[in-house]
Symmetry: C2
Subunit: 450 residues, 2 copies
């Protein structure tokens, strides 16, 4: 099975754990039997591997998510990078060209597209295989999965099938309805549109070429920023006459809000939390290293990260997006290809950041125009490079970088470094990158240690 996972990026609905650089699908909230945690993307990827060990999985995503994907899924998954965000039709067109030109998938081969973040059981992935088989067989240009509604939801688009059979042709698509209309759709056998569909690769490539003027993957990639934002449903599905739908009645949850997320959490707290006996139906996710004490709260979710603290009635948490949008705090945590950084303190004229560097990794070789920086090594050993001069560093060592100095650090063992940024107008934008290759190496000097 060829499967394309669409990895979107909304940072608002699971704030403060998700943010502009850390999408909800990378938050590790699902506890495994060994006590460790996996993220949505790890859960879905594991389930696909368990259902179909031979599946060829491609993740279509923004450049900003690549580090997180590599950190969480390793090097074996293929990643189709969208240079900028242009909605689902351009993303699927790019992924199709990627499959064809880079992975050499044949035009007659079926491809299944699905979101990266449904909370489902293995039956869902069995159904994906069925979709793939139907697409291979032909008989319709598109084969969709329709979720059997469990209530007249106003949150989803509906697929109205011709018949109530297990497999049916699609009569029409309907936008998110009001309650009464939703009830009516369900009476007519309507199904939720979960954004899951399969097609032969040639079908999608033809659609792409008919709507976008491009030669091949490289060319489409180069032109990507100029493409119009348009959804796959609007560009393709709603205009296509030959669409089949397969009903799916197994577990399916869209864990896009804290309310739905807390339903699938297997424990009431992750992180340091204390509850009094009067608490009822409360979930806590605490990424801070300080305790959260909860007394007499009912039907609430509490989430804390370096970005902020959410205290919400579970039902009300589904409506928090406009309030989160008012928050203009800089991002406090980011996953990087080499590890992570966490802002631990900010003040007028300075910013203190904790840098965690994985063994064998290094950050980009870079400089800042408007700030000086001081590194104090808190643990681990490695090599600092400042303006081409290498120095071995370990706990207690200090590296000073004046404004303009090119610098990086290469970790030998896992390193934790406290970075003090000092200057006016400290900004993530004040950064110039340089190639690391060609850095003069006058040998490793020993740092001035006590």
């Amino acid at each position: 099975m060829n499967i394309v996972l669409l990895s979107g990026g909304s940072g608002k609905r699971l704030w403060p754990l998700s943010n502009d650089v850390r999408s909800k699908q990378f938050i590790k909230l699902f506890r495994l039997s060994d006590g460790s945690y996996e993220s949505m993307v790890q859960r879905v990827y594991r389930q696909i591997r368990e259902t179909d060990p031979d599946a060829s999985v491609t993740i279509a995503t923004a450049k900003s998510q690549v580090s997180a994907i590599r950190n969480q899924l390793g090097e074996h998954v293929s990643v189709c990078i969208e240079p900028v965000r242009r909605d689902t039709f351009p993303a699927i067109a790019l992924a199709s060209a990627f499959l064809h030109d880079r992975l050499h998938v044949g035009g007659e081969e079926p491809v299944v597209v699905c979101p990266v973040d449904p909370y489902v059981d293995d039956a869902y992935f069995e159904k994906l295989k069925e979709l793939s088989d139907y697409a291979a067989k032909g008989g319709a240009c598109l084969t969709l999965m329709g979720i059997e509604p469990t209530y007249p939801s106003e949150k989803y688009g509906y697929i109205i099938p011709e018949t109530k059979d297990e497999v049916s042709m699609v009569r029409e698509f309907r936008e998110k309805p009001d309650l009464e209309t939703a009830e009516n759709y369900i009476k007519r056998g309507g199904l939720w549109n979960a954004g899951v569909f399969a097609f032969k690769l040639s079908y999608l490539l033809e659609k792409a070429h008919s709507l976008i003027d491009f030669r091949d993957y490289e060319d489409l990639f180069a032109k990507y920023a100029a493409l119009t934002k348009i959804s796959f449903d609007y560009a393709v599905a709603e205009k296509e006459k030959s669409i089949r739908v397969l009903r799916y009645a197994g577990e399916w949850k869209d864990v896009g809000t804290w309310n739905t997320m807390s339903e699938v959490m297997t424990e009431r707290a992750k992180g340091n939390a204390i509850f009094d006996d009067a608490c009822e139906n409360v979930n806590v996710v605490n990424e801070l290293d300080m305790p959260i004490l909860v007394c007499g709260a009912k039907n609430m979710v509490i989430a804390a990260s370096g970005d902020g603290i959410l205290v919400a009635d579970k039902h009300q948490s589904a409506y928090m997006k406009p309030y989160v949008e008012k928050i203009s705090e800089p991002v406090h945590f980011a996953e990087k290809s080499w590890g992570s950084y966490t802002v631990i303190d900010a003040g007028c004229g300075y910013l203190n950041v904790k840098v965690d560097l994985r063994p064998g990794n290094r950050m980009t070789y870079h400089s800042h125009e408007y700030r000086r920086e001081v590194w104090t090594v808190l643990s681990g050993t490695g090599t600092a490079v400042v303006d081409g001069v290498k120095t071995q560093i370990g706990p207690g060592d200090v590296v000073k970088m004046p404004a303009g100095a090119k610098h990086t650090v290469i970790a030998e063992s896992e390193m934790i470094i406290l970075e003090c940024q000092i200057g006016e107008n400290i900004s993530v934008k004040d950064k110039t990158k340089y190639p690391y290759e060609g850095v003069v190496d006058p040998g490793i000097a020993k740092a001035d240690r006590e």
Copy 2:
């Protein structure tokens, strides 16, 4: 009026803003018209000064509170320091000896004792003057203030007067009752015992000498640690036959829990907080530099500091003490005579502390046996002293202190320093202090700055 303010130290009921080194009376929660905030002790001290500009105010307190008192009230208030905590009778005996031997208050002069943290209006302080006048007049050995109950509380001890007159002799004292008994006390004219009383200094000194073998203030101070813990009520008031009580019916609140504290807060949030439209009766006190978003919460108090986060139903917050006692986190914030320190991050083998030093101040000259430290100056200028060597430092400068090195810093302008502590078993107990006088001064060297 001679007034002794008893400054106790419970760190649990207003957690996480109060802790073992920061008592509730020093938390700045009361907003003034100019937008600044004052603490309970500042409020009470200001009210006393407004009611009686000539009042001689002495604060009886533990050594650990002296820095906070000096920071908040300045140098003019007199402070009677209890070397260790020994309950109210020893504290009042020590304060009486202090008044007599240090402040030269005469034996015939009246003294009023009251807690440092009642939330009251000015009428309360007028009543204190009345108490003082009655004590001066004689006619009873002790003159108490009895608070007119507003409901049959189970939280307070009761004073049962002989009559329901404005001024009456006391028939008896009663411990905290159950509801039914409280109703009965109120029918009999019972009053709440708020721990406020007046006496002639000679009376208390005689009581002290009859119960404790000591010569004078110095001697009592020296013997203080050996004294038995006993309350004033138990040691003196309940045994005394000649006690008068004055009724007080003005505003009086014991803001000892978040529930009562939130009743007197004049705004729903202090610090960075956002509320959705569905919130009702919610108070937030946020000392962190990250936002708190509250959605759909009702009747709750949310408080956050470097020590932790509290999310509590207001009513339930009164019962949180046993849960707070389970939290064994080290203290993250402490007020010092020279400024403050805040733990901003902790990990295995290191602790990162932000030090805020007021102009003209310096920390103790000290060393650590088991950890090295690195200072990075984030703002301000001053002089670092390491093993007797002075160095001028400013933003971006670094000072390294190996284990064992004696060190301090003297602030010229307000300084903010990031202190990285590195070592195994980092503890506040690993500290040796040295006299600063006699430190060799080979002149001020200029730090190696970029």
